[in-house]
C-alpha cells in the first residue's frame, strides 16, 4: 500500500481538548430538534457514508476504508467508554491517520498472527442520529451490534459510535470514529481488527 502524505502533527493537547469537548457533548446530548438536523440531502449522504464504512470493514477492504477518512482523522477505541481525556488516559486504540495506516499495513504483511485468519465481522449500525454543526460538519451517533467470528469462537460486541463527518470538496469524509464498546473496561479478547 502506498504511504499517503498525511500530516502527522495534529495530535497535540489542543486537539485532545477539542475531541474531548465534542465526545463529552455527545454524552450529554438530549433530543435533537429538527433545527439541529442536517438538510435531507446531506443526511442522506452521511447515512450512506456510515453504511459504506461498515461494509468496507466487513469485506476487509481496508485500503478503501481508509479512503473514507480525512487526512487528519482519528480512530478512537477507549479502554473505558466513559473516558474522555486522551492526554491522561490510555485507550485500546487512539490512532491518528498515520497509525491507522500502519495498522492496516501490518495486517497486510500476512504475518500478523492475531489476524490469521482475519476476524470476520458483521457490523449493524442502528439508531442513527445526525446533528448538523455547520454546513460542512455533521456529527453522527449510532448504536452498533458487531458480531465477530474467529476459528476458536467469536463474540458479540455492542455499544455506540460517534462520528465527526466533514465535507471536503463536496465529499463527506470521516474525521473521527469513536467506538464506545459496552464493556470496554472489561477484559477483552482479540481486538486486533477494526471495530
Amino acid at each position: 500500500m502506498e504511504i499517503t502524505g498525511a500530516q502527522p502533527g495534529y495530535f497535540d493537547l489542543e486537539y485532545y481538548r477539542r475531541i474531548q469537548r465534542i465526545v463529552g457533548s455527545w454524552m450529554e446530548l438530549d433530543e435533537i430538534s429538527s433545527d439541529d438536523q442536517p438538510p435531507a440531502e446531506v443526511a442522506e449522504e452521511c447515512r450512506a457514508l456510515l453504511l459504506h464504512e461498515a461494509r468496507l470493514i466487513d469485506r476487509h477492504q481496508l485500503d478503501d476504508w481508509l479512503d473514507l477518512f480525512t487526512d487528519d482523522a482519528a480512530y478512537w477505541l477507549p479502554a473505558d467508554a466513559s473516558q474522555l481525556d486522551p492526554a491522561s488516559t490510555v485507550s485500546w486504540e487512539f490512532n491518528d491517520r498515520r497509525r491507522m495506516e500502519e495498522r492496516v499495513e501490518r495486517i497486510l504483511t500476512g504475518k500478523a498472527y492475531s489476524q490469521i485468519p482475519p476476524t470476520r465481522t458483521t457490523h449493524c449500525y442502528t439508531n442513527i442520529e445526525l446533528l448538523a454543526v455547520s454546513e460542512n460538519e455533521v456529527h453522527a451517533l449510532c448504536n452498533f451490534i458487531l458480531n465477530t467470528h474467529r476459528p476458536k469462537g467469536g463474540r458479540l460486541l455492542s455499544g455506540w459510535n460517534g462520528f465527526i463527518l466533514r465535507c471536503e470538496e463536496g465529499r463527506w469524509l470521516i474525521e473521527l470514529k469513536r467506538v464506545n464498546l459496552l464493556d470496554a473496561d472489561a477484559p477483552q479478547g482479540n481486538l486486533s481488527f477494526f471495530l
Binding site: I3, A87, T89, V90, D96, E102, R106, S192
Partner: protein, 440 residues
C-alpha cells in the same frame, strides 16, 4: 476435628513434581492439569509475595482497590493512619463478596447481605441486632481474614499469606533493577492512575509468563511489526533483531528467586531512546512544543526518560514490567488468564510528556501483544490436544557456554536463552514442593 480444620483452614498434601521436569524440559501437564492449577492457586499464590497494587492508586486514607491473589479476591486498603492492608474480600458472616466495586474511598466496608461492617484493617465494626449474638459464638472469627504480610517497595505493594521472607529478601536482585526503572526521571514520581488494558486470553498463565524474557521469539512472532516499521521508517525501534541476534549486546539475567530481566538498553538506549523509538501519534507536535518550551536538550532528556525503558523486569510470579507499563498476571482457570497492562504517568513533568506516554503505551499492546496472545493461545491448544507429545523445551543456551557473571554480579546469557524459564521454574518448584508452614 472440625475445630482443627477451621483453625488450619488450608491444608494440602505434600507435592513432589519430579516426574514433571527433565533436563531442559518441562511436562505439558504443568500447563493443562486442573489439579496442578488448583495447587498453584493455593500454594504458589498463597505462600510467596504477590504484587497487588501501586500506592499511587490508593493515595488517601480510606482509599481501596479490589485485586486478586491467585483466585482470591482481596481489598487493598489504606487506613486512616496511612497503613496498608490486604483483606480477603469475603464477608466473615456467610461468605458474601464484601466489596463489589473496583476502587473507591470507604469509611467502612458494609456487607450488602446483612450489613455487617468492617474497618480498613478488616476488624469487624458492627453487626445489626447485636442482642442476637451470644457467648456460644464469642470465639467466632468475626474480623475479616487477611494476608498477614503486606509490604511496599517504592510504591509497589506486595502481599503474602504465608512466607518467611521479608519483601526485600524476596525481591533480591529485582529490587535494584526496579530502582533503575524508577530512577530514569529524577524529581518525578510514578503514578498509576491512567487506565489499564485488561487482555483476556485462553491460555495457562505460564504460557504468558514463559514469554516475559523470551528474546528468541521477537523477530519471528513480531515479524509483521518489524516489516511494517522497516518499510516505513528504516532502522528504528527493535529492528536490530535480525540475523544472529545472540551476537548483539542484548541479554537475559537471572536475578534470583525466579525473578529475571531481559535487557535491551545497550542497543535501545545507545544513542537516544526517543529518537530511536518509531513514530507515534503526536510525536512531531509534542516534540516541537517541548523544544519551544524547554529547549532541545531538556526536551530530549524528558522524552528519553519516558521512552520504552528497554528492560523487561519480571518479578515472579505475577508482575512484569515492560516499557512504561506494569503488567499483572491474573490466572482465571487452568486455561484462562487475564493480563492487565496498567498505564503509568509521572509527577512534575509537562502534560505533553504524559500525553506522549499514553500514546506510547498503546503501541506495543496494539502491534505486538495481540500476536503474542495468538501464540500463547496456540501453545495451550497444542498442549491440551495432544497428550502423546509430552514435553516443552526450555533448554536454549544450557550448553553453549555463553553465559557469564555480569559486572553487577548476576548471571547473564545471550538474549535468545531460556534462562528466564529455567529460573522461574526452579522458584516454582521450591515453593510448590516446600512443606513449610504446613499450609497449602
Amino acid at each position: 476435628m472440625l475445630k482443627e480444620a477451621a483453625k488450619n483452614s488450608v491444608t494440602y498434601a505434600e507435592h513432589v513434581y519430579d516426574d514433571y521436569f527433565g533436563e531442559g524440559r518441562v511436562h505439558r501437564a504443568l500447563y493443562t492439569d486442573a489439579e496442578i492449577f488448583k495447587h498453584e492457586m493455593l500454594r504458589l499464590f498463597g505462600s510467596t509475595w504477590i504484587y497487588v497494587a501501586h500506592e499511587s492508586e490508593i493515595p488517601d486514607a480510606g482509599d481501596f482497590v479490589t485485586r486478586r491473589m491467585g483466585l482470591r479476591s482481596v481489598i487493598v486498603t489504606r487506613d486512616l493512619d496511612g497503613d496498608l492492608h490486604v483483606l480477603f474480600n469475603r464477608c466473615s458472616h456467610r461468605g458474601a463478596t464484601l466489596c463489589r466495586e473496583e476502587s473507591g474511598n470507604a469509611k467502612v466496608f458494609t456487607c450488602p447481605y446483612h450489613a455487617w461492617s468492617f474497618g480498613h484493617d478488616g476488624g469487624c465494626r458492627g453487626r445489626p441486632l447485636p442482642k442476637g449474638f451470644g457467648a456460644s459464638t464469642d470465639d467466632f472469627p468475626y474480623d475479616l481474614s487477611k494476608a498477614d504480610h503486606v509490604e511496599s517497595y517504592r510504591g509497589f505493594i506486595f502481599a503474602a499469606i504465608d512466607t518467611k521472607l521479608s519483601l526485600k529478601e524476596h525481591l533480591g536482585g529485582a529490587a535494584e533493577k526496579l530502582d533503575e526503572w524508577l530512577d530514569r526521571n529524577p524529581g518525578s514520581d510514578l503514578v498509576v492512575q491512567n487506565g489499564s488494558m485488561p487482555f483476556e486470553m485462553r491460555t495457562n498463565w505460564k504460557c504468558v509468563y514463559d514469554n516475559a524474557a523470551d528474546g528468541y521469539h521477537v523477530p519471528f512472532s513480531h515479524e509483521s511489526l518489524l516489516r511494517m516499521l522497516s518499510a516505513r521508517y528504516g532502522n528504528v525501534d527493535i529492528a536490530y533483531y535480525e540475523g544472529d541476534f545472540d551476537a548483539l549486546p542484548l541479554l537475559v539475567k537471572d536475578l534470583g528467586n525466579g525473578h529475571t530481566m531481559l535487557d535491551q538498553r545497550p542497543l535501545m538506549h545507545a544513542d537516544s531512546a526517543w529518537e530511536r523509538q518509531h513514530v507515534l501519534p503526536g510525536r512531531e507536535s509534542i516534540w516541537s512544543k517541548l523544544n519551544e518550551d524547554l529547549g532541545e536538550e531538556e526536551a530530549l532528556k524528558l522524552l528519553n526518560g519516558s521512552t520504552g525503558s528497554g528492560m523487561n523486569l519480571n518479578i515472579f510470579p505475577n508482575l512484569m514490567i515492560i516499557g512504561n507499563q506494569i503488567q499483572v498476571l491474573e490466572p482465571v482457570s487452568v486455561n484462562e488468564t487475564i493480563v492487565r497492562w496498567y498505564s503509568t504517568s509521572l509527577t512534575n513533568v509537562p502534560p505533553e510528556i504524559n500525553a506522549v506516554r499514553m500514546r506510547m503505551q498503546e503501541d506495543f499492546p496494539s502491534f505486538g501483544e495481540v500476536d503474542d496472545t495468538a501464540n500463547f493461545e496456540a501453545c495451550q491448544i497444542g498442549l491440551e490436544e495432544i497428550p502423546e507429545a509430552e514435553w516443552v523445551h526450555i533448554g536454549r543456551h544450557m550448553d553453549s557456554r555463553l553465559g557469564e557473571t555480569d559486572t553487577d554480579g548476576f548471571w547473564k546469557e545471550p538474549v535468545s536463552t531460556d534462562l528466564h524459564a529455567r529460573a522461574y521454574w526452579q522458584a516454582w518448584r521450591t515453593i510448590m514442593e516446600s512443606n513449610e508452614g504446613g499450609k497449602a
